[in-house]
């Protein structure tokens, strides 16, 4: 099956698309303020408008996603500003290394770490995804509904500074997903007689509003004097001694990153922080973590790339994304009228395996781009914001306009962006919002189907052992992380 995937991903057009995606991804990733979710969000409407076939569009988005995870480290190491949230931990040792004149080894080691992480995780996808998909086929609508509740609870429990805020964000997303004509009954819901809202709020409009327009407003708020990047001098490659020092770190962090990524909710940021802390503890006495230890750049980069790829597992096998970025990709599938879910592996082998194969190809491309060609990307760090911000604004609106060709979508997107900005300033997490919006329709359909089968008996949602298990985990994930934090605080107070 994987060979079939390579046949799809290996066509000249798709190779070209992957190459372009990797390049754009790395650039978007290294620009401070723009991360994978912004890159995927901005390119999705353009891919759609260019009428790319679904597998090519997904290859493009995945290459951008993978590339962003590589790019984030470049600005982390050279200007001490993480290019995306997953690269926060890379600043801890990357910037000190660069200050010591070791920017080259830091960049090449982190590129190798990114590659190892991504490779291990992609092998993990090949090994585990088909098994998980087979298991999930036994799910009925009731189990499915609970599974989606679980996904939302996981994300809600882990992100943001308060539970009510995360839940509010998620519920607003769910609510917006109900706008439009109800497919089962033909009733118009919350359209307020607006013609353009009959088919619901377009997914692309929400995505661009939340991840492009509001992002630009935040960039204006956080604008600070850009620090001069450290110039790349001396050797570019790490040496054998450095490699031997980091090899087990690479492997350990890649494996744990993958498993953290598979869990819904826990994304690249959490994986890189956890692995960095663990490696630091394991390093014993004679480590230089915090002052420029090579393992300190290897650990977070291996972990964040592994978890980014790992988070594709629930998306591909269950159709339930566990992160904001994979939620956007699920939305991309639905734009092409492909229903995500456990049957994806059977119904759309070309897309699924093509995507997995393209991940292998994209990562080799990225490794090549990010070691010998690193200077090309470093040059992008000097793009001034006065050119970047209007450019991003224009590209985003081009994408939205191209889909339906109406300014209504542009105006709606701008207002959603403004609202998104207010929510983000108040520390409402945005990932549950987009996840709620993407899952809303599927949740409602599965709930109604389950209750139709049971003739209105709500008990069906708690009937099977799988469903009960999922409920228990959902409640645990929603309350667990916060309870643990409260206990920690109490312990700290007592001590």
């Amino acid at each position: 099956m994987l060979m079939q995937g390579f046949a799809v991903a290996g066509t000249p057009e798709n190779l070209m698309i992957a190459l372009i995606g990797c390049f754009i991804g790395t650039v978007v990733g290294l620009l401070p303020g723009l991360g994978p979710i912004n890159g995927v969000a901005i390119l999705l409407p353009i891919a759609f408008a260019m009428k790319l076939p679904p597998e090519s569009a997904l290859i493009l988005l995945c290459a951008v996603y993978a590339g962003c995870e590589y790019g984030g480290r470049i600005s982390a190491i050279l200007i001490n500003v993480p290019g995306d949230a997953g690269a926060v931990m890379t600043t801890m040792d990357g910037y000190p290394m660069a200050k010591k004149g070791l920017a080259g080894p830091a960049l090449s080691m982190s590129a190798l770490a990114s590659f190892t992480g991504a490779l291990v995780a992609t092998i993990g996808i090949v090994a585990f995804a088909p098994l998980l998909a087979e298991w999930a086929i036994a799910f009925g609508p009731a189990e499915y509904f609970v599974l989606m509740v679980l996904a939302l609870c996981c994300l809600g429990g882990l992100v943001g500074d308060s539970l009510p805020k995360a839940m509010t964000a998620c519920l607003i997303g769910l609510l917006l997903s109900t706008v439009g004509i109800d497919a089962n009954s033909g009733v118009y819901r919350y359209t307020f007689d607006a013609l353009h809202l009959q088919d619901g709020i377009p997914f692309i409009v929400i995505v661009i509003g939340l991840f492009a327009v509001s992002e630009l407003m935040l960039m204006l708020q956080n604008e600070h004097a850009a620090s001069e990047p450290i110039t790349l001098t001396g050797r570019l490659m790490f040496n054998t001694k450095e490699f031997l020092m980091a090899k087990w770190t690479l492997l350990r962090c890649s494996l744990s990153g993958f498993f953290i990524g598979v869990l819904p909710g826990a994304g690249a940021t959490i994986a890189s922080a956890m692995c960095y802390a663990a490696e630091r503890r394991m390093a014993g006495k004679d480590h230089q973590f915090g002052q420029g230890d090579i393992r300190g750049v290897a650990a977070p980069e291996a972990a964040n790339n592994a978890s980014a790829n790992g988070s594709l597992v629930p998306m591909l096998t269950l159709g339930v994304p566990g992160s904001g970025t994979t939620a956007v990709m699920i939305g991309a599938l639905t734009l092409y009228n492909i229903t995500p879910g456990p049957t994806l592996f059977q119904d759309q082998p070309v897309i699924v395996w093509g995507l997995i194969a393209s991940l292998f190809i994209a990562n080799v491309m990225l490794l090549v781009m990010n070691i010998p060609l690193i200077r090309v990307f470093v040059a992008f760090l000097s793009i001034p914001n006065w050119l970047l911000v209007p450019g991003v604004a224009a590209v985003s609106l081009v994408g939205v306009y191209a889909v339906h060709g109406t300014t209504f979508d542009l105006i709606l997107g701008t207002f959603i962006g403004g609202a998104g900005y207010l929510l983000r300033v108040m520390n409402f997490p945005i990932a549950p919002f987009i996840l709620g919006f993407v899952l809303g329709d599927m949740m409602e359909q599965n709930l109604r189907r389950a209750l139709s089968i049971s003739d209105g008996d709500v008990g069906v949602l708690f009937a099977s052992p799988i469903a009960i298990g999922l409920w228990v985990v959902a409640v645990g994930m929603l309350l667990g992380p916060r309870l643990m934090r409260m206990l920690d605080q109490r312990k700290a107070v007592a001590a």
Partner: protein, 147 residues
């Protein structure tokens, strides 16, 4: 305080939503759960969250200083104007007009802003419209020339 105001607004939204949604009953029903249940459930939970937000005393919001906030508001209005004028003025002019003030906000000089605006407008038009086949509005005035 900000969270409490937002909580109040959301509470009103959920009450209004429940009020409006109550009438979403199909003329003929084939299923035990109609189009009304799910939105009402979501709105009910949203209402509860809104009340929790209103009761929570501690706030984690730090607003930007007023001059920055004013510029952010202006940025929003510029993007809104850009959206409104996108197909009336055509992509090239609208983009150039949008770029100039936005680039000024981010520290470009006047010369950089004007050149950057024209460059972005023309460059992106040809890149998307001609190279990638993503149709962009030319605006009424240019239809004759570029048609």
């Amino acid at each position: 305080m900000s969270e409490r105001i937002l909580g109040g607004v959301l509470l009103l939204v959920s009450i209004a939503g429940i009020f409006i949604g109550w009438n979403y009953v199909p003329p003929v029903s084939y299923e035990p759960v109609g189009p009304r249940a799910f939105p009402l459930l979501v709105l009910f939970l949203l209402g509860i969250c809104a009340i929790t937000l209103m009761l929570d005393k501690k706030s984690t919001t730090t607003w930007a200083p007023t001059p920055v906030l004013a510029r952010i508001g202006l940025l929003f209005l510029i993007v809104l104007a850009y959206a409104l004028l996108f197909d009336k003025l055509g992509f090239i002019i609208a983009t150039a007009l949008m770029t100039i003030p936005v680039a000024r906000f981010f520290g470009g000089t006047w010369k950089q802003c004007v050149l950057g605006g024209i460059g972005l407008g023309v460059g992106m038009f040809f890149f998307f419209d001609r190279l990638l086949d993503v149709a962009l509005p030319t605006g009424l005035w240019l239809n004759g020339i570029l048609g």
